[in-house]
């Protein structure tokens, strides 16, 4: 059995910010990680641990004043640093789909939802006609569980609930059959029952497309439910990496153990199994 090329390989990544006075502060100190086709990698850490920065760097979306200062990012074996703006645009939303935390800011408030999904399609398949794009957009919305998609696609984002908006964002992320989905806290802004629906939608989208998933989260419950592998990040470093079983059953690093010990009130019985 041949070893497949990793979909994403991050080698010794360093990210730093330069203050107006010229002083440089390193935020990510040599992070290395690998994502293989089809797998789910969860990046876990508290705010400020560098998990979002690492993934923004993969997409070439670091905020102004923050730069990659060392290391390599390879997507399908190609170094992202060597790509120009156009090639990066082909990568984003094409080979790599993105789902961000807050669906309201990810969507344009003054454009109809359907048109935004259509635009995600057209950006990467410019030969499609407008009618074909519209049909494809409706198909994508149906795929993520929006009923009567053709009709509801005419609504504006504010007319949709948070869960529906996040479905639209996922539809845009999978529009061009990405090999890799990056989801940064995709359900943090949502109610717990809606979160469960969205995680189902994500799982189904991945089943349909075969995409790998890198999910950034601090919710250890979600991690235990979806991860194949886990990287625990703290202060710009990966302190522990392992399979979901390694991390939950045999945590090694004191910080991982501290994180696991902070879990509260785990349901001891499955309420599904309880009869009324």
């Amino acid at each position: 059995m041949s070893i497949p090329t990793p979909l994403l390989e991050v080698r010794d990544l360093r990210i730093a910010t330069t203050a107006p006075d010229g002083s440089v502060r390193e935020l990510v100190h040599g992070v290395s990680l690998t994502v293989h086709p089809g797998e789910v990698l969860c990046l876990v850490g508290e705010s400020g641990s560098g998990k979002s920065l690492t993934m923004l760097a993969v997409l070439g979306l670091l905020p102004p004043g923050v730069e990659v200062t060392g290391g390599q990012i390879l997507v399908d074996g190609i170094d992202v640093a060597g790509l120009d703006d156009n090639e990066l645009r082909v990568l984003r939303g094409g080979r790599v789909g993105m789902v961000f935390q807050d669906p309201m800011t990810a969507l344009n408030p003054v454009k109809r939802v359907g048109n935004q999904v259509a635009r995600a399609v057209k950006a990467h398949q410019p030969t499609l006609s407008t009618a074909e794009t519209r049909v494809r957009a409706a198909e994508l919305l149906e795929q993520v569980g929006v009923r009567d998609a053709a009709e509801r696609a005419r609504a504006y984002p504010h007319q949709w609930s948070g869960g529906m908006r996040q479905r639209a964002v996922i539809a845009m992320a999978i529009a061009n059959n990405p090999g890799l989905l990056i989801a940064d806290e995709p359900t943090t802004a949502l109610d717990v029952t809606v979160q469960a629906q969205i995680m189902r939608v994500l799982a189904e989208a991945r089943r349909d497309t075969g995409a790998a998933l890198v999910m950034i989260t601090h919710d250890l419950g979600l991690v235990a439910q979806v991860a194949d592998r886990i990287c625990i990040m703290r202060s710009g470093e990966i302190v522990e990496e392992g399979s979901v079983w390694d991390i939950f059953d045999r945590p090694d690093h004191p910080y991982t153990r501290m994180l696991l010990s902070s879990i509260l009130g785990v349901p001891t019985t499955n309420p599904e199994g309880v009869s009324a």
Binding site: E39, E46, T193, Q197, L220, S243, V266
Partner: protein, 320 residues
């Protein structure tokens, strides 16, 4: 800056001593309704709170759980007199706030204080920690620097923080300042509106431990509002589940957790992701998975993770 920067030891979870159910009632809400004028073409009235009855006993924690739009925030606003009730009654410490005004109303309000969800927007960024905690004391003409220092010590902050402003603190530290401010006037009831949901998990545990300790020290009664059932269960004596303006279920915390009577409560419980990879599938409402034992099968052969690989339409699609 993280609260956990200095310690990485495992977190001990404090547990509470249960409260006797015959303790006196400090807060009583009976058949409360708040209706807003509707918007849109049909202008249908919005029944944000629709006949809610609750009691809170001295020293007790009542967890109020509900998703966004369930009416819990409107209920809280009404308790503090920020919305007028359309129907029903509120009794706080045996007094009707709607029948009081002026000094009597202010006195009653001192006895029930609020801790807000967002420690970023609920502290004035231009005031020092000292001034934030001193503000309620000054308003009541009871300022005393020693008391400010004592309040900060109670929430685990030293004198070195007095001159610092909110931006210099982490979320957990800010929430401690918010709690110190709420305690300044020696209240008997604290209404905690999602006090930990904006915090990282390990910081959540620390703030919850702090709340448990303060409750026992000061004999406080808590109305604890949250959407996170795990947190609520950990610190509540009783839980009330709210949906669409109504309480659908009330009961002792463990009973609600283990034997939920209402279908919506069951749905809420089933949606909690269980932080145990050996019990996958609960998140999706899928069939329970066999315990793979310590060796563990390959991740991704269970629950959520599997359907994508083999293309099967098992639990996932049936659950959707």
């Amino acid at each position: 800056m993280s609260d956990t920067a200095t310690s990485t030891g495992p977190i001990e979870h404090l547990t509470r001593t249960p409260v006797a159910t015959d303790a006196p009632v400090v807060l009583e809400v009976a058949d409360l309704a708040v209706t807003f004028r509707g918007s849109g073409r049909r202008r249908e009235p919005v029944r944000a709170v629709d006949g809610v009855s609750l009691t809170l006993h001295r020293g007790e924690t009542l967890g109020l759980v509900g998703e966004s739009g369930s009416g819990k925030s409107t209920l809280v606003r009404t308790l503090f007199g920020l919305n007028a009730p359309t129907r029903g009654s509120i009794r706080i410490l045996d007094q009707d706030p709607n029948a009081l005004n002026g000094r009597d109303l202010r006195r009653l309000r001192n006895r029930m204080q609020m801790v807000f969800q967002d420690p970023y927007s609920s502290l004035n960024p231009r005031l020092t920690t000292h001034d934030i905690v001193a503000e309620p004391l000054r308003l009541m003409g009871r300022y005393d620097r020693g008391r400010v220092i004592q309040l900060l010590a109670d929430v685990g902050l030293g004198e070195d923080v007095l001159g610092r402003r909110p931006a210099q603190f982490s979320g957990g530290q800010r929430q401690r300042i918010g709690i110190a401010r709420a305690l300044a006037l020696n209240p008997e009831i604290l209404v905690l509106d999602e006090p930990v949901s904006a915090l990282d998990v390990s910081v959540q545990a620390q703030v919850i431990n702090l709340l448990i300790r303060l409750q026992e020290q000061h004999g406080l009664s808590y109305l604890f509002i949250a959407h996170d059932l795990s947190v609520v269960r950990h610190l509540s004596d009783r839980i009330a589940v709210m949906r669409a303006g109504q309480i659908v279920e009330t009961g002792p915390a463990e009973r609600v957790f283990h034997r939920p009577e209402d279908a919506y409560t069951r749905e809420l419980l089933a949606a909690i992701p269980i932080p145990d990879p050996h019990r996958r599938g609960a998140l999706t409402g899928a069939i329970p998975t066999p315990n793979p034992g310590t060796a563990g099968p390959r991740p991704g052969t269970l629950g959520l993770a599997d359907s994508r690989r083999d293309g099967s339409t098992g639990p996932l699609s049936s659950a959707a």
